[in-house]
């Protein structure tokens, strides 16, 4: 046995410092889940200490896709920072667009024309459906079901086609502008969206039949990763993760922005806070998004899609602002501290995945590896958003 060669394989800082718990008895195994593991969806790495198949402790290791978005905000002008927002969370890019644009508008007191507000609502909710669809497919993929993600992608492609029509992009949208949106929607867009919504309503029963009702999936999700409300509060978990635990907290409802206070929609909540509840909440949210889009399409006013009286340059007064929107993963917050120059003095992004992720370490304790994968999937993590 080449012992000297083996000794080189001792691991890096995290594995060597993640030494077995002194209170634990018996042999444990330090296992690196990631950064290239099929279920960490990207480059999340979780170091786990395992006792057989049971997880003793786990610790997420971040930073593999850190791009210094916050620092970039300090060296770019307010306008130049816009495209960055599509890259923070590539799955629900428009929510991040909205959070940043909304924050700057609040800071500078820019009025947004009503048509733009409705367009934002429609596109953002479409984007939410596409994000949830991808989560749905990927989650079942984590649990070993390979087919659903293809069905999800087929529908997601249609959403992307629709959004491509106005945003010009398929994934990393940079669509919202200060005071409006970059392009107006046309009748074709509305027609296609309505068609898609009809189609999507016929697809949902198939999804539920194929997956939700499946006894194997229920066995993998029910009573797995039960997340008490108190723990959500401790970690600041938001979005479907929090709502799955039974708290009907939705930024769209509790800190209404844009036109959400004029639209009717429910905030679905779970009961037990297990993975199945989080699953159900997301599935129900897609239905609510459909409702919102339909109402918004019906109520779509005429008018300009971007505010006509915009300042020439976006240089806000001294001051600070915080603006939050509800993303697919939870509360997206943007905090800007302005020193009166063309660039923000400090820009802070509150990403929901970051808070939701840290629930994992505590939830996974004492569970089986397979359950831990199920828990991680049910949190709907987007790694670039965690690292920013």
């Amino acid at each position: 046995m080449p012992h000297d060669a083996m000794s080189k394989l001792v691991g890096d800082y995290y594995t060597t410092h993640f030494t077995p718990d002194p209170t634990s008895e018996g042999d444990t195994l330090i296992l690196n889940l990631g950064p290239q593991h099929p279920s960490t969806h990207g480059v999340l790495r979780v170091v786990v200490e395992m006792d057989g198949e049971y997880i003793r402790r786990s610790e997420p290791v971040l930073g593999y896709i850190h791009r210094m978005h916050e620092k970039m905000g300090e060296v770019k002008t307010y306008l130049q920072y816009l495209p960055n927002m599509g890259r923070v969370d590539y799955l629900h890019a428009l929510a991040w667009n909205w959070a940043y644009v909304g924050a700057v508008e609040k800071l500078m007191g820019i009025k947004v024309p009503p048509r733009a507000e409705y367009i934002r609502t429609i596109t953002c909710e479409l984007n939410r459906i596409s994000s949830h669809l991808l989560w749905w497919g990927a989650y079942i993929l984590d649990l070993g079901g390979i087919t659903p993600i293809f069905y999800a992608f087929a529908d997601r492609e249609r959403i992307m086609d629709i959004l491509q029509r106005v945003t010009g992009a398929r994934l990393t949208y940079c669509y919202y502008r200060f005071g409006g949106v970059s392009a107006d929607i046309d009748d074709d867009f509305i027609k296609e969206t309505r068609e898609f919504l009809q189609h999507f309503k016929t697809r949902l029963p198939i999804y539920h039949g194929l997956v939700t009702g499946n006894v194997i999936l229920r066995g993998r999700c029910e009573d797995i990763g039960v997340l008490p409300v108190e723990m959500c509060r401790r970690y600041g978990a938001t979005g479907p993760v929090l709502r799955g635990s039974g708290v009907a907290y939705d930024t769209r409802r509790f800190e209404p922005y844009s036109v959400y206070d004029q639209l009717e929609f429910d905030v679905p909540v779970g009961k037990n806070g297990d993975a199945m509840d989080r699953y159900d909440v997301r599935m129900a949210e897609m239905v609510q998004s459909v409702r919102i889009i339909e109402q918004a399409l019906d109520a779509l006013p005429a008018g300009p899609h971007v505010s006509p009286d915009l300042p020439e340059r976006f240089i806000p007064e001294k001051g600070e602002v915080y603006f939050a929107v509800e993303g697919a993963r939870g509360k997206i917050g943007v905090y800007i501290l302005s020193d009166g120059t063309a660039k923000p003095y400090r820009l802070k992004l509150r990403s929901p995945s970051f808070s939701n992720l840290h629930v994992f370490a505590e939830l996974a304790q004492g569970t089986l590896l397979a359950d831990a994968i199920s828990i991680m999937g049910s949190l709907d993590l987007v790694i670039p958003e965690i690292d920013r």
Partner: protein
């Protein structure tokens, strides 16, 4: 095929199986890695199964593979995995001492009964018999439920007890955690 050829083939088969047994047995007791030792055991098991076949007892041969290879070896593998003794099992640091002190004794202990029994067998060996027809399953079954019913029930009880014991021991382990 002629009778003589079949006889020759049988001897060839015997030699092959004996080779398996010897190689496997040596690996089972000599190799430093326990997994390799287990592989040796499995080789031996196949050799013995082959010998059963040579004796026209295919049922036993298949049972040997089913029970020993399919179940017992896998269990032993489990034990090896759980106790994490992958290598240096025979003690690389004081191998010489071990061999010096105990190997002689071991060989003596192993050979004594062998020699005694070998001489006994060779002396009392009956005349070679033509191979009797294969024992059918029905015969075996009747035997197990007839004269050997007590032994059969006993082995069932032993198996049950072993299973229960293993479960109890295993539970004790979980509780201790």
């Amino acid at each position: 095929m002629g009778e003589a050829l079949q006889q020759q083939l049988a001897y060839v088969g015997y030699g092959l199986y004996l080779l398996l047994i010897i190689a496997g047995g040596l690996a089972a007791v000599m190799s430093t890695s326990l997994v390799r030792a287990l592989m040796g055991l499995i080789l031996t098991l196949f050799g013995v199964a082959g010998m059963f076949l040579l004796m026209n007892a295919p049922f036993l041969a298949f049972m040997q593979i089913l029970i020993y290879v399919g179940a017992v070896s896998v269990l032993i593998f489990f034990a090896i995995m759980l106790t994490k003794t992958p290598e240096g099992e025979a003690g690389a640091e004081n191998m010489l001492e071990w061999i010096g002190m105990r190997a002689g004794l071991a060989v003596l202990a192993a050979l004594t009964p062998a020699i005694i029994m070998a001489t006994l067998i060779v002396k009392k060996a009956p005349a070679a018999l033509a191979l009797k027809p294969e024992v059918t399953l029905a015969q075996l079954g009747e035997f197990l439920t007839g004269p050997f019913v007590l032994a059969f029930e006993l082995i069932s009880v032993v198996l049950l007890a072993a299973m229960a014991g293993a479960v109890v021991l295993g539970f004790e382990r979980r509780k201790g955690k």
